[in-house]
Structure formats: structure tokens, C-alpha cells
């Protein structure tokens, strides 16, 4: 236990350096990101937990194999989110997935922050909208759903989203605006 506490003080980048010397350190890095990434996969894909875990395992293995290619100008979290995102999209392309499945990957607080961001002009009744968030997100285009999740649920900055999705920051800003618009349109059609 003491040992784990010791490694919790290390930064991601320090753990990468240590992992390249001894792979046991990779376990701590994986543990640090396991829950966050599993939720992220479920949020952008509607996958159930078992499938999401398969995707995450592939993600961790891919990240481990490519560790020597880690771009030091990036945050490790952006790099691992990027791999996770790409692996999830690959999985969705290769497998038939029920798009409208509800997997309860969002907690109330996160849904609240998304709704308050999108419903600033109070076009919709907040509580009713909160109850339909996942349904609306599932109906959205994948690219729009992803930016909303990254910005308002995962609380990533524009720079981080740009690094995760490998698109210029200006494009991210445009995508977020369009995503909000599509969310409102779908919410409007649903109420």
C-alpha cells in the first residue's frame, strides 16, 4: 500500500520513463486512467461495460507498444485519450453496436453541467432535459457527441480536445458550436 501511495505522487510522464525501464510501473499508470477511460468509452459509444473493457484493454496494450512514440509536447492524458478514442471508433466500425443503448455512463452532476451549458437561455425545462440527455446524445452525430462529452463532461480544454481528436483548435470551436446547435434541435424535436 505504501508503495502505491509513493507512485501516486509521480507524474504520468515520470511513470512513462520508469515504465520504459521496468514494465511493472505501467500497472500504476493503467490504474490511474482505468475508470476515467472506461467511462469515456461508454459515453461516446453507448457500449456496455464488457465491450468497453475489451476496447480499453486494447487501448492499454496499444499505448504500451507505442510508448516510445509518446510525444513529449503533449500531456500523457491527451495522448491516452487519443488512443482510446481511435480504438473506440475502430471497434464501432468493426462491430454492430446498438446505437441507442443506455449504459448509465453519466452521473447527475456531469449531466447537470452539460445541460446548464447548453440550456443557458432556458429554452427547455432543466429537469426534463436532464432525463433525456443520454437519449439525445445517442441520436447525435458521433463527432458532435464526442466534442460535447470531452468539453462538458470530461472538462477538457480546447487545446486538449485538439490534441485528442487531432484537429486544429479553430475546428474544435466550430464543432462545439455545431454540436450545441444539434443538441438543441434534437431536444426541441423530443419535447
Amino acid at each position: 500500500m505504501k508503495k502505491r501511495e509513493h507512485y501516486s505522487e509521480k507524474t504520468d510522464e515520470e511513470l512513462i520513463t520508469l515504465t520504459l525501464q521496468d514494465n511493472k510501473y505501467y500497472l500504476y499508470l493503467m490504474e490511474r486512467y482505468e475508470k476515467k477511460l472506461l467511462r469515456y468509452i461508454m459515453r461516446i459509444s453507448s457500449l456496455q461495460k464488457e465491450d468497453a473493457e475489451d476496447v480499453l484493454q486494447e487501448t492499454f496494450i496499444k499505448a504500451y507498444k507505442n510508448m516510445n512514440d509518446f510525444d513529449v509536447s503533449l500531456k500523457f492524458s491527451s495522448w491516452i485519450y487519443r488512443i482510446t478514442h481511435n480504438e473506440t471508433i475502430n471497434f464501432l466500425r468493426k462491430n454492430r453496436v446498438i446505437k441507442n443503448a443506455i449504459n448509465n455512463a453519466f452521473n447527475e452532476e456531469e449531466i447537470g453541467s452539460l445541460v446548464s451549458e447548453i440550456n443557458q437561455e432556458e429554452e427547455f425545462e432543466n429537469n426534463a432535459l436532464k432525463g433525456r440527455v443520454q437519449e439525445i446524445l445517442n441520436a447525435m452525430d458521433e463527432k458532435y457527441k464526442t466534442v460535447l462529452v470531452l468539453k462538458f463532461i470530461e472538462e477538457k480544454s480546447y487545446k486538449e480536445i485538439s490534441d485528442i481528436l487531432q484537429k486544429p483548435s479553430g475546428t474544435i470551436a466550430t464543432l462545439i458550436n455545431r454540436a450545441k446547435k444539434q443538441f438543441r434541435e434534437l431536444a426541441d424535436a423530443n419535447f
Binding site: 514494465n23 505501467y26 493503467m30 484493454q57 496494450i61 504500451y64 510508448m67 486544429p168
Partner: protein
């Protein structure tokens, strides 16, 4: 057992190891080498395009009875323009595949590539690369002359007042001489006393020239303007020309 522990076990059991650093290094070197090659090649092809466009005798559309637009469409060096566009597309793809390439907006990469090609192309053109490479391709690829602007065809239009060829004999200094056009036919040329002689053309045997004027009979042509067959954009060729004339 957590997912992280299961994955860690799998990594150990399947003896998965990180890909060696040198493999990523080689990939990066390949991407950057391709980038440098594409920029240089794009610059050379742009120099060729500039040379071809400059060497296209923009003023003669009137003699051919064509509109400037039709003439422009006819003489544009499409092959080279397509190759330049291809190089810009490769440059774009290449930049996007560098580690931080995604950070730049599409229009910045595209306009940057166009600007880079124009800048380098202008530099190469002013060094005479465009002209030299054009001449070399002309020698190695016989069909090259017929791609895009067909200079010989345009300048073998005596009925429209355009003639070209090589001076084979001088009759009375510069006012009368004989040329053989590019189809092999000899012509007697009478040069008007007010005829304009380009600064880079000499009335001497062996000179290849272009003539604007009027056809008098089936083998007599009155010249009102005489230009060199090749426009001398290469500073070295200009120097050689001056040395030739001062001897």
C-alpha cells in the same frame, strides 16, 4: 482482479514489448525527407510552370484571332499545373502526418504550400532552372513539345502573321535574310526599316527567331517584329549572349 491487472498479466504472458525507438525515428525521418523532397520538387515544377507561362507569347492571340481567354486556356501548361497541385496535395498529406501537423488549419497548410512553391519556384526560375529543365525534358521526351502550349505550331502560322525558324543566310545585312521554318520550308524575310528587333536577338546565321509580320507570297514574309525563339530568363544565358555580342 481489476482490468489494469488483467492487462498487465496479458502483457507479461504474451511478452508484449514497446516498439523500439529507432523505428519511430526512421518513420519520422521518412516523413520529413518526403516533405523536403516534395518542397524542392514542387519548387522546380513551379519554376518550369513560370517559365512555360512566361515563354507563351501572351500578345499574339490577336494575330490568331482568338480572345485572350481562349488563348489563355489554350496555352496554359496543364501538365505542370497538375503536377504542382499534386505536390501541394502530397505536402498537405505529409504535414498532416507529422506529429503536430493536425494543429494547423487546412487553409494554412494549403496556402503555405502554395506560397512556398511560388517562392522557391521564383527563386529557381530566376536561377534558370525552369528553362534548363524544360530544355532537358524536351530532349529526352519527344512528345513534350506537344503537351499544352505548342510553341512551334502557334509560330508556324504565316497566314496569321506568325513565323519562326532558323536564319540560314543573310542577304543584305538585317533588312533581308532567309530562314528555314520548323517544317523545313525556306522563307525570304524582308525586315521593315522600322521593324522592332528584340534586344536578345542578332541578325546572324544560326539564330533561332520568331517573327511577327505579314505573309506576302508563298515564300516571302515581311517582318515587323523579330524576337528570339527562346526568351532568355536564365541570367547565365543572358551573360553568354552579351559575351557573344561583344566579341
Amino acid at each position: 482482479m481489476t482490468l489494469s491487472e488483467k492487462t498487465f498479466e496479458k502483457i507479461g504472458k504474451e511478452e508484449i514489448t514497446p516498439i523500439a525507438k529507432w523505428k519511430f525515428f526512421l518513420k519520422n525521418v521518412a516523413v520529413w525527407t518526403t516533405g523536403v523532397f516534395v518542397i524542392i520538387a514542387g519548387g522546380i515544377v513551379t519554376a518550369l510552370t513560370i517559365y512555360r507561362v512566361r515563354d507563351s507569347d501572351w500578345g499574339v492571340y490577336k494575330n490568331l484571332g482568338e480572345s485572350p481567354f481562349i488563348y489563355t486556356i489554350r496555352i496554359l501548361p496543364y501538365v505542370w499545373i497538375i503536377v504542382v497541385i499534386l505536390f501541394i496535395a502530397i505536402a498537405y498529406y505529409n504535414v498532416r502526418n507529422t506529429k503536430g501537423g493536425y494543429r494547423y488549419a487546412t487553409h494554412i497548410i494549403v496556402f503555405g504550400s502554395i506560397f512556398g512553391s511560388l517562392l522557391l519556384g521564383t527563386a529557381f526560375f530566376s536561377l534558370g532552372f525552369g528553362e534548363h529543365i524544360d530544355a532537358q525534358i524536351g530532349i529526352s521526351v519527344p512528345a513534350y513539345e506537344y503537351l499544352g502550349y505548342n510553341k512551334q505550331k502557334i509560330w508556324t502560322n504565316p497566314g496569321e502573321g506568325l513565323l519562326s525558324g532558323q536564319i540560314i543566310a543573310l542577304r543584305n545585312s538585317s533588312s533581308s535574310f532567309i530562314i528555314r521554318d520548323f517544317t523545313g520550308k525556306p522563307w525570304v524575310i524582308y525586315s521593315d526599316p522600322n521593324a522592332r528587333w528584340d534586344a536578345f536577338v542578332l541578325p546572324r546565321v544560326g539564330e533561332q527567331i520568331k517573327i511577327i509580320g505579314k505573309q506576302e507570297t508563298h515564300d516571302i514574309f515581311f517582318a515587323s517584329e523579330i524576337r528570339p525563339w527562346k526568351s532568355l530568363s536564365d541570367p547565365n544565358e543572358r551573360k553568354i549572349f552579351y559575351l557573344r555580342t561583344t566579341k
